[in-house]
Symmetry: C2
Amino acid sequence: MNYCSQCGATVIQRIPPGDNLPRYVCDSCGAVHYQNPKIVAGCIPEWEDRILLCRRAIEPRRGYWTLPAGFMENGETTQAAAAREAHEEAGAVMEEMSLYGIFNLPHISQVYTMFRGRLGGGQAHPGSESLEVELFTEADIPWRELAFPVVRETLELYFDDRRQGVFEVHVGDIIRHPDQRLEIRRY
Amino acid sequence: MNYCSQCGATVIQRIPPGDNLPRYVCDSCGAVHYQNPKIVAGCIPEWEDRILLCRRAIEPRRGYWTLPAGFMENGETTQAAAAREAHEEAGAVMEEMSLYGIFNLPHISQVYTMFRGRLGGGQAHPGSESLEVELFTEADIPWRELAFPVVRETLELYFDDRRQGVFEVHVGDIIRHPDQRLEIRRY
């Protein structure tokens, strides 16, 4: 951030009075520009013993498989955002959705809210951000070609739960350390 | 938003190619400025049969009672943000936290993530944003002086759960319609 989005003057980074973190501050109009984490809302679409994955048509991780998910928009609920992403990326109509987990990715300031639900009619087709969509049994999941650690983590928890016959709501942290080491914490 | 925070040129609102919602776009440097919901992280601090509330020292709703909660910061996890807010607003040290619910407030583009947990040592004192802090039994909760509908909703669900002896993870929508009517949806 270089300029104030309100008045166009140059901003500087400084801790405002009464605050304890540096913010982008405009000394011309007084605006403080906060930057906050973003929510990614996604789905585990279920059909019989299979779940739906999308192969990404866009960067990052083009060509790799993911659960349908994307940035939540203003004015939405998390579950509406998750259902919208499943529709946009896979032509999927989600039914009977329930919260499956929230996953914190503090190194990129994102929080994933994941819902599971039935894939209406078992029907799906690739949207503009997907090369293909496919229903996978647990045995057929392309574990080595998953797009993101949060997708692997969600799928591992999901199949563990399914084997035990109880779906809990999970909280997890997925942390990429500066040395690139990945740390997974489950609560 | 009036000016591009990257290059300082005037922005306009327009649907970018491949998108389906209007965004603030800079035709000078090409930046697209997305605006997304914010996460508010909060706690239900428990001590024996009582829970901790804070009386707000700041607007909005100065003088009204709330659960400790505030905007999540970049680089945090949701549970760390909730614990930090409890410490800042009430000097509280939270222990054994678990996810209690996520509540969507689409009319103001906020998502509350609420955690319950033990108030360490039963100790609390008002931080700079609180006039006072106090432990309340269910019978003593100041229901008519609660700051926000999401606080009421969280407390109602919490005491229902406690009476039944089972704490579930809740998902709820708290919607203020244009005619000011409040709608609560529970999932």
